[in-house]
């Protein structure tokens, strides 16, 4: 056990023990532990195996900047043990292991490392080609991390929204100071930090200085007392999006924040040094060791060597010493002596310092799972190791503090420009977008007091941006700058294994090799070596890779530039992103009546419509056939409330219709309707409907079910564009509509209405207002299904009553669905826009030339139709039939028409007509195939060719007598000549 005596400010709760399993063995930790801290406290040193060579790995950053410790708990695949809170009953296993961590059968890959250089995959596995599937299987098996459990319980992840004046990202000293500055001035502040508690480096980087702890305690109290600050710990800002919106992610959910301004105080990420065997368990970043000590009261190692090049390393040495670690020596890469309080304290403790030296290699323990010593070399003037001057220093751990990389991903995403400051060896912001500010170490400020002032400065700027009262903070002269990052913390070794990217197992040599092969720009280097492309996305590797590349090419880091940073900062679980679907479904006011009547529903655009009404013991085809025959023989009732229903009124109402529809409306009489077709500017059919003139300046018209929203929208635009004096109302939801159709429809309607319905008072294509079943309704006498019919439009809330009344009025009234309507209109040869036409079909091709009033001054699409008329058409919509005796398979919609082996068209509609007792359909074919009587071939499922005969549509009642007829005429005909 390496748990220390209680440490002031520790995050663990010693009164609350937590039992869990790792690799099947029981362990105990405390509430507040992460998985890694609990394992390390229990003496476990190998937490994972590396991705490529399966090398044993332990703690590196303990800050989610590496993925050495990836574990699965049966439900989640890739828990990052370093930052995942320990929970009772966890049963954890490592993910990249064949066997156990101690006996990983894939560890032999490490021995073959020199045969698996960078770029190996690209070069080795592409030939011979027939071998590739074999390699692919093998590589997939090796490279998969974790095993999916398809039985894992599913749950919904909520999405929330939040708004604030100032979003402060990162709650270290500068972030906390910024939040207090803005909060105290009255701004609504959200302060987020990815750690379980706020405080940043104040919570772990202490040395012998009491100030960080006192400061943290005081600022914690101040923030709690400031009502305007909302603190969100254990939450990371995953991405920056347009106009300062952010995705904040925690374990359970995503919060989308809209911030009026943002202060990025995300700090820095400590970077490893590269030397041979720098990846052994026990070799870790100094900040990781400090986190283990101060947050979790865990002794990181027993006997340490501290490798450093900055003040932070001396502070870490003091922290280790205070935690009872034997600090054998400090190895300082720099030539100049460290001048700081920490350095003086180190001397007082009697810790030796080896200046201008590096760790040449870490020496492996006999079990290969740890460090037993390091070899230290003097550094030459060019930063290369003087391998003749080797000294061996025993230790069981190394703390590395050689430099930092700014956590500036969000700033990059926000569009900030960066400049490489050679003095501090760091990219710093140089030009930020409006409302975006940076503070603290990400801004290149390292001294503690200066970081606090920098936070206050950023808060003042944010307040100024928000036009809130602000006062310029008192900014004292900063102390003499010091360089926290060593320019080249990379030590070459003839035997390699000096790791730069721990995710991808990349060593120093891999970069030299990539550059030799010509991949020597930062973007190419990244892609060839895959540096930074692992799960930690370069957080611990990109900076060192850039330093190596700069040195290889003899250029400055600022010249090379960094690769692009994109969301997300850390991976976000797919469950957080999936959220809920917001696909609206519209239902007509008659929905529950349809359900009660056994309707089977289908989707039509955003609407749900009855496809047909199921009948006991009958197939779908039989049910639809009965509905069709009921309409042809007596009467049917269909819900057409999904049609777009629009009313336009005003002096220019008629002018609007004249311009947007191809037909003429000036001469449409009040009380009459007219079929109308709409084109786009290219002359393509976009919509159709029926226009009814209710008054001189008032029209009511329908659109297709799918077109209602877009037609309404386009008409609004035309009114604005042409500055027409008319108003337009979308009644699609407010009005219901139903169509009573069939030879007996007039007689049945007369039972529930005293409207005059005879052919003179209410002629074909008439529009009347009347009372039906006590409800004032608009009635249009139209015939989409080819029978005498009345389309009844009425307020939605009264529709159910009228529907029920009509059904009760006569036992012959049969409700019918969309499928029956499709068959009925097909018998009539009426087209459906969007089914029989597509995104290129013109009226010339769809046999709709009769609706084009080319002598009008203007309509949308007219000029294009004019141009097209001068050219031959490419397709023609025709009717076709199969012989009545035909009994084979039926073609389906979208089956292809084939001529001499080539595609020459397609079927757009097809059905077996119960009325005509043969297969009928519409097809879009080459114009030369359109002559009635000619035969053409259709290729159906399975490749069989069928022969169809082109005919002139309509198939049924070509002269349209049935929908025009008076009752007496119709009854006479019906009796003498029974249909079907």
């Amino acid at each position: 056990m390496t748990r220390l005596a209680p440490i002031a400010g520790e995050w663990i709760d010693r009164s609350h023990a937590i039992d869990f399993e790792f690799e099947g063995r029981p362990y105990r930790g405390f509430a507040g532990d992460t998985i890694t801290s609990a394992l390390w406290a229990s003496g476990v040193r190998v937490l994972g195996r590396s991705f490529k060579y399966h090398r044993p790995r332990g703690v590196l950053s303990l800050a989610n900047h590496d993925v050495n410790a990836l574990v699965a708990d049966g439900r989640s695949l890739h828990l990052r043990a370093d930052v995942t809170a320990l929970a009772a009953g966890m049963r954890l296993s490592p993910v990249n292991v064949f066997g156990t961590l101690a006996r990983d059968r894939a560890h032999l890959l490490d021995r073959f490392a020199r045969f698996l250089p960078v770029g190996f995959y690209y070069k080795a596995f592409f030939k011979p080609k027939w071998m590739f599937p074999h390699w692919e299987r093998a590589i997939r098996k090796l490279s998969g991390l974790g095993k999916l459990d398809f039985d894992a319980p599913r749950g919904r992840t909520p999405n929330r929204h939040a708004f604030c004046d100032v979003l402060v990202i990162g709650a270290g000293p500068s972030g906390m100071a910024a939040a207090l500055g803005a909060g105290r001035a009255g701004a609504r502040v959200i302060l987020v930090d990815e750690n379980a508690r706020i405080g940043g480096s104040l919570s772990y980087a202490r040395g012998t200085d009491a100030r960080p702890r006192e400061l943290l305690e005081r600022m914690n109290l101040d923030i709690a007392a400031c009502t305007g600050i909302r603190v969100m710990p254990a939450t990371f800002a995953a991405g920056y999006y347009a106009d300062r919106s952010f995705a904040l992610v925690d374990q359970d959910k995503m919060v989308k924040v809209r911030a009026r301004s943002v202060i990025v105080a995300t700090g820095v990420m400590e970077q490893p040094a590269a030397f041979r065997h720098n990846d052994l368990p026990g070799v870790m970043l100094a900040s990781a060791a400090q986190r283990l000590i101060h947050r979790y009261a865990v002794q990181p190692m027993q006997s340490a060597v501290v490798l450093t090049a900055n003040t932070e390393g001396y502070v870490a040495a003091l922290d280790l010493h205070a935690a009872g670690v034997q600090v054998n020596t400090i190895v300082d890469l720099r030539a100049d002596a460290e001048e700081s309080d920490a350095a003086r304290a180190v001397s007082e403790q009697g810790i030796g310092i080896m200046r201008r030296s590096c760790i040449f290699e870490a020496i492996v323990t006999p079990d290969r799972f740890g460090v037993r010593a390091v070899t230290v070399c003097r550094l030459n003037t060019d930063d290369s190791p003087d391998s003749a001057s080797r000294t061996e220093v025993p230790c069981d751990g190394v703390a590395m503090s050689v430099g930092f990389a700014p956590a500036n991903g969000l700033l990059h995403q926000a569009g900030a420009r960066m400049l490489f400051d050679e003095g501090i060896q760091q990219f710093v912001p140089n030009g930020l977008p409006a409302g975006v500010f940076a503070a603290g170490r990400v801004n290149g400020v390292y001294d503690l007091t200066t970081r606090l002032r920098d936070g206050e400065r950023a808060a003042a700027q944010a307040l100024e941006h928000l036009r809130m009262p602000w006062s310029a903070p008192d900014v004292p002269a900063p102390p003499a700058p010091r360089c926290p990052s060593f320019a080249y913390p990379i030590v070459e070794h003839p035997d390699g294994k000096n790791f730069v990217d721990f995710d991808e197992d990349l060593t120093v040599r891999d970069f030299a090799r990539a550059a030799q092969e010509g991949f020597d720009s930062s973007e190419l280097l990244k892609r060839y070596t895959t540096v930074g492309m692992g799960p930690s996305q370069g957080k611990h590797s990109n900076m060192n890779a850039l330093r190596i590349l700069a040195r290889i090419r003899g250029r400055s880091i600022g010249d090379l530039g960094t690769t692009t940073a994109r969301p997300f900062i850390h991976p976000v679980p797919l469950s957080h992103l999936a959220g809920r679907g917001f696909t609206p479904v519209r239902r007509t006011p008659l929905q529950c009546l349809h359900e009660r009547a056994g309707a089977v529903f289908m989707q039509a655009g955003v609407w749900l419509r009855p496809e047909y009404y199921a009948r006991e013991g009958k197939s779908k085809t039989e049910a639809v056939t009965e509905e069709v025959l009921a309409v042809r023989r007596a009467a049917g009732l269909i819900d057409v409330g999904t049609l777009g229903k629009i009313e336009v009124s005003g002096p220019d109402a008629c002018e609007l219709l004249e311009r947007v529809y191809t037909g003429r409306f000036q001469n449409l009489k009040v009380g009459m309707t007219r079929y109308a077709v709409m084109l786009d500017e290219a002359g393509v059919i976009t919509d159709d409907g029926v226009v009814a003139r209710l008054g001189e300046q008032r029209f009511y018209f329908t659109t297709t079910t799918t077109g209602s929203a877009s037609v309404y929208r386009e008409l609004q635009r035309y009114i604005a564009q042409w500055r027409l004096d008319c108003g337009i109302v979308n009644l699609t939801g407010a009005m219901a509509a139903m169509n009573l159709a069939g030879p007996r429809s007039r007689e049945i309607l007369a039972k529930v209405s005293d409207m005059p319905l005879d052919n003179n008072a209410f002629p074909y294509l008439g529009a009347r207002e009347g009372v039906i079943a006590g409800v004032v309704a608009r009635v249009l006498r139209v015939g989409f299904v080819g029978e005498l019919g009345f389309e009844i439009h009425l307020p939605a809330e009264l529709a159910a009553h009228v529907w029920d009344t009509l059904l009760a009025a006569d036992a012959a009234v049969t409700p019918f669905g969309v499928e029956a309507q499709r068959w009925l209109r097909l018998e009539k040869g009426h087209i459906i826009i969007g089914q029989d036409t597509d995104g290129l079909t013109t009226p010339l091709e769809a046999a709709l030339e009769w609706v084009l009033k080319m002598d009008k001054p203007f309509f949308v699409g007219q000029r294009s139709v004019q141009a097209m008329r001068a050219r031959p058409i490419k397709h023609k919509l025709i009717g076709f039939v199969f012989p009545p005796a035909y009994s084979g398979p039926s073609p389906k919609e979208c089956h292809l028409v084939i001529r001499e082996g080539e595609i020459a068209g397609r079927i757009t509609s097809v059905a077996y007509s119960p009325t005509l007792k043969q297969i009928i359909g519409l097809a879009m074919v080459a114009p030369e195939m359109a002559a009635p009587g000619s035969l053409f071939k259709i290729r159906v499922d399975g490749g069989t060719m069928l022969e169809a005969e082109a005919v002139a549509a309509p198939f049924y009642d070509p002269r349209g007598e049935r929908q025009r007829m008076s009752l007496a005429q119709l009854q006479a005909r019906y009796r003498s000549q029974e249909v079907a």
Binding site: A242, S245, A682, A720, Q862
Partner: protein, 87 residues
């Protein structure tokens, strides 16, 4: 999420808006040649710069014009077509 100022409803999230394409002046159909007309119907200049675009605020049914720098994706001003400011 991006914000867009609707001339009637103020600053609203982009999800409330529908893009209506570039605002273009229609040539006189009676005078334009087939080639000129086809150019108007089918061709769009996707060059960087400031463009006049149609935008629709769906909840309120408002069509308006946005002058947008399409390279920087910055909307410079929005107005109703009938209230177009002097260029």
């Amino acid at each position: 999420m991006k914000l867009l100022p609707c001339p009637i409803n103020g600053l609203r999230p982009i999800s409330e808006f529908i893009y209506g394409g570039e605002y273009r002046e229609m040539p006189n159909p009676d005078e334009a040649s087939d080639t000129q007309w086809a150019d108007y119907v089918f061709n769009r200049a996707s060059l960087p710069g400031i463009k006049k675009e149609w935008w629709y605020h769906a909840p309120s049914g408002t069509w308006f014009i946005a002058e947008r720098d399409v390279q920087a994706d910055v909307v410079q001003r929005t107005y109703l077509l009938s209230e177009a400011p002097a260029a």
